[in-house]
């Protein structure tokens, strides 16, 4: 349950901070959530990771679908030298996931022990 709540809160907080702050605010959001909702280090990492993997994966897929994937196709040619929208969406999700996972892991270590 804690795990699911962590994921949901991390995703929501990341989305909110990114409306005003740079992209790396997802690390801070994940950090804060992990510091407040106490879990093991591994679980914290995994919830931060999962939250942003889902958030960025969903957002990029959603935006790209409305665009008919036209731009993602072009960018995947520029960045990946191949025409594969899915890999680009995966890469986006992974970068968000790693950053947030690491933020959450760091946050998990300052949670006071009960």
């Amino acid at each position: 349950m804690k795990f699911t709540i962590s994921i949901l809160v991390t995703a929501a907080l990341s989305f909110a901070t990114c409306l005003f702050l740079p992209w790396w605010s997802i690390a801070i959001a994940a950090f804060v959530v992990a510091a407040v909702i106490k879990q093991s280090a591994a679980k914290s990492f995994l919830s931060g990771f999962t939250a942003l993997f889902l958030l960025w994966g969903f957002l990029s897929f959603y935006i790209s679908s409305a665009n008919g994937h036209a731009l993602a196709q072009k960018i995947s040619l520029v960045l990946l030298k191949m025409d594969n929208v899915w890999v680009l969406i995966f890469a986006t999700a992974l970068i968000g996931a790693l950053t947030a996972g690491m933020g959450a892991l760091s946050g998990s270590f300052i949670t006071p022990r009960k």
Partner: protein
């Protein structure tokens, strides 16, 4: 708290963020900032415009004086209805920025010699050359001149405010895609940037003289050979102003210095521009009078041939104010409609192409360049010290000497520290260019947008100094006209064809052709006016106008228009996209007559039969066009390669028309013989040898599946940053050099327009691009297929009361 794991983990997190938040050099390319670039809320995903994106908006800016409504139609063309004229320019600036900001800034950075700030030291040579040409100096003079004109000043101020209103509204997520990809942010717009854009057009259209190349040719060939290779007279010339037109009496008499023949440099020059505007930057325009049209109303047509890029050079729009109502294409970066029509008349341009940039050799007292010799004494040089910011590197500082030659201040473009594409330059060349002279080019567009009749047009046109243009005009009252407008130096024969001595006044320009001696036509008897960059007048015109002009488009257009009657807009659209090659048609008889067909082997015979049966058209699917083009390339090599083998680098080569006209007149023309062999080659030998070589290239093309003309030519429209994913290649379109449809590989009709001035104007147009500069928008390149297939869009001059028309998809309102 677990201190050590916390510290390690936090450091790793910070390291990861650092890694993803910086640009890295991988394989010679700089990566984007991956974190920011891939973030769905900040990065490129934000530029992936929804296919059903809503462009409607309600905006308010205190600078506005009244209300402006912008109706965006289904092609994303804005119809701007403003209560106040200057508000319209504010909104135009806002829209230009909203849809084309990156391109506007890139073009003006390039014009200002600031490309290295964005792309690094590989652009430094370009940047130095542009600043040494005095591009920034010229733009500063233009801003001063514009500021003296209250109408243009307030127009420009409003435009700049509009651009900046948009730039200030940008956030990280709404930045144009290219800024995110390359990793920089836009700076604010200014009137100076608008002036830079206009100077960039001057560079593009009025800087392709061949002084260095011609001087090298003169130094290498005998005077007699030089005249043969670069004749002043062209046999097939059908000038813009028809032969037999009488000109006003000459009032300015340029006199050649006594030393002109001998002093003209007989040694090769060492400097060379590292880049030149495309020689083919030209265009077609014509207007037919009502006497030749089915409707009885004049029809005006224009298609400017320029480098084709994405985003396109042009942005289409309608501007409607209480004072005027104009529709057409504009330059993102400048206010007003440049080529288009209003409720009374239509207007368009082709390039004048005359030589208005000359080089003078300067003698400095010593290497410090502090003093230069002029009229026997040394004068103090002015220095302009330029700092170049270079991405990822320390600044570079260049000091450019400015010398005063007579009354003209000229930058010393080439000296010991800068030889253009040459590294071993030891001489100094100052540049005298009309684009440095005070002028107020925006006035012509302002006045044409407002023009109601011929007198208005005539007054408007005379504001255009550089780049000089053939300005075509047609009016609903039936008038048609064409002025070969520009600020043309009055030259003695040959003046400025070569680098000239700059040590005294004798070789300087002594004056300009007075505006009332500028050749023009107004309602000529033949019922049409036309221009296609050919020589504007024949040899009876009293002033010298240079020797490098393309012949054939003008020849063909005049021939067709003379023969046509009951002309309709449709037949004009057909003519504008016509693929007939009259150059090939003139050449074919001598080719077929001279070739030694018996000596061709079976494979060569196959291509020869294609050529023989060719219809002289460069249509999609034509193979004859490919064979002909390859043949002509080899034929030129067969004729000239031997004479040019030992020529200096950077030397001018004869025009294709010169070779054709020479062999048509004289089958034993001097250059036909190969001077490296003991025997004397004949025209038949050259033609046959060239054809055999062409057959080899054709075979290679055929094996690659590229024998059909459109694949061989491979027209492509590149993104300005040359990213293939943002470009369009292998467009199925015919045409080519010498052809009315002048579409080459990366160059061609950048806007096609046919305006029939019936009571309700019947207007059509198309350009190879799209209204949005965003590669993530469906409006990025959506006109290209229409353009490539020779089709047009109907242009809609919206009127009040049509606000509910089904063509309108979005409305933007601007208030104060």
């Amino acid at each position: 708290m677990k201190i050590i794991p916390f510290l390690i983990s936090t450091a790793l997190t910070a390291g990861l963020v650092f890694l993803l938040n910086n640009s890295w050099k991988i394989g010679g390319n700089n990566t984007p900032l991956f974190g920011a670039f891939l973030s769905p809320q900040h990065g490129f995903w934000q530029n992936a415009e929804a296919v059903n994106s809503d462009f409607s908006d309600e905006l308010s800016f205190p600078k506005l004086k009244g209300k402006t409504s912008v109706y965006l139609d289904e092609r994303l063309v804005p119809h701007i209805f403003a209560e106040q004229e200057n508000d319209a320019y504010f909104v135009q600036g806002y829209l230009h920025a909203k849809f084309r900001l990156w391109q506007m800034e890139l073009q003006t950075h390039a014009a200002a010699g600031r490309a290295a700030e964005i792309i690094g030291d590989k652009a430094l040579n370009h940047d130095r050359e542009f600043r040494r040409l005095g591009m920034v100096y010229a733009a500063e003079i233009a801003v001063t001149e514009m500021s003296k004109d209250p109408v243009i000043k307030s127009e420009c101020d409003a435009y700049t405010e509009g651009v900046n209103a948009y730039i200030k509204s940008l956030t990280e997520s709404t930045l144009p895609l290219e800024y995110k990809l390359i990793g920089y942010t836009p700076e604010l717009w200014s009137n100076h940037k608008t002036a830079l854009l206009l100077k960039y057009m001057s560079y593009d259209l009025a800087a392709h003289e061949k002084d260095f190349e011609m001087t090298n040719a003169l130094s290498f060939f005998s005077a007699a050979d030089f005249e043969k290779l670069f004749p002043y007279k062209q046999d097939s010339l059908d000038p813009i102003i028809p032969k037999g037109t009488s000109f006003l009496k000459q009032t300015v008499f340029p006199v050649a210095p006594a030393t002109a023949d001998s002093a003209y440099f007989k040694q090769p020059v060492q400097a060379a521009e590292s880049q030149k505007p495309d020689m083919a930057n030209g265009s077609n325009n014509w207007a037919v009078s009502g006497s030749k049209t089915k409707s009885g109303a004049p029809i005006l047509c224009n298609d400017p041939h320029l480098g084709l890029n994405l985003p396109s050079l042009w942005y289409e729009l309608q501007i409607s104010t209480p004072a005027f109502n104009a529709y057409g294409v504009s330059f993102p970066g400048a206010p007003g409609v440049v080529i288009g029509y209003n409720d009374s008349c239509a207007f368009g341009f082709t390039n004048g192409g005359r030589d208005v940039r000359d080089y003078y050799e300067i003698i400095f007292k010593d290497d410090s360049r502090k003093e230069y010799l002029f009229n026997g004494t040394y004068h103090a040089t002015n220095f302009r010290v330029d700092t170049f910011k270079i991405k990822g590197q320390p600044d570079f500082i260049d000091s450019v000497a400015y010398v005063k030659l007579g009354n003209d201040v000229c930058p010393v473009m080439f000296d010991k520290s800068f030889g253009g594409k040459r590294t071993d330059n030891s001489k100094n060349y100052a540049v005298r260019w009309t684009a440095h002279d005070p002028s107020n080019e925006l006035r012509i567009f302002n006045q044409l947008n407002h023009a109601k009749n011929y007198a208005d047009y005539q007054a408007a046109a005379q504001n255009l100094r550089t780049p000089g243009q053939n300005c075509v005009f047609a009016c609903k009252n039936g008038d048609i006209a064409l002025r070969t407008q520009g600020n043309w130096p009055a030259k003695w024969k040959g003046q400025g064809d070569f680098v000239m001595p700059g040590t005294d006044t004798s070789y300087l320009w002594k004056g300009f052709i007075p505006q009332d001696e500028v050749p023009y036509q107004y309602n000529p008897e033949r019922g049409f006016v036309s221009s296609a960059n050919q020589k504007p007048v024949d040899e009876t015109y009293p002033y010298y106008i240079g020797r490098v002009y393309p012949l054939y488009r003008g020849y063909e257009i005049n021939k067709r228009l003379s023969a046509m009657n009951n002309i309709t807009a449709d037949s004009m659209m057909q003519l504008q996209t016509d693929n007939y090659n009259c150059f090939a048609a003139m050449a074919m008889p001598f080719i077929l007559k001279s070739i030694n067909a018996a000596s061709l082997n079976a494979g060569e015979q196959q291509y020869f039969s294609i050529l023989k049966n060719w219809n002289m058209r460069h249509d999609v699917g034509s193979v004859g066009a490919t064979v002909f083009v390859n043949f002509w390339k080899e034929f030129e090599t067969a004729v000239f390669a031997d004479e040019y083998a030992k020529a200096p680098e950077n030397v001018e080569r004869p025009l294709e028309s010169t070779l054709l006209e020479a062999v048509l007149k004289d089958s034993a023309w001097k250059f036909i013989d190969n001077i490296t062999t003991p025997q004397t080659e004949t025209l038949a030998d050259n033609v046959t040898a060239a054809f055999k070589k062409a057959a080899i290239s054709c075979k290679a093309a055929q094996l690659n599946g590229k024998l059909v003309w459109e694949k061989y030519k491979a027209t492509h429209i590149d993104h300005l940053a040359k990213l293939p994913a943002f470009s369009r290649d292998n467009l199925p379109i015919g045409g080519g050099t010498h052809i009315i449809n002048a579409t080459r590989d990366t160059h061609g009709p950048s806007w096609r327009m046919v305006i029939e001035l019936t009571q309700k104007t019947n207007a059509h147009g198309v350009y190879p691009g799209g209204q949005s500069g965003n590669p993530g928008s469906k409006f990025y390149d959506n006109f290209i297929d229409t353009w490539a297939t020779g089709k047009f869009y109907e242009l809609w001059m919206m009127v009040k009361g049509e606000e509910k028309d089904s063509r309108i998809k979005w409305v933007m309102s601007f208030t104060n």
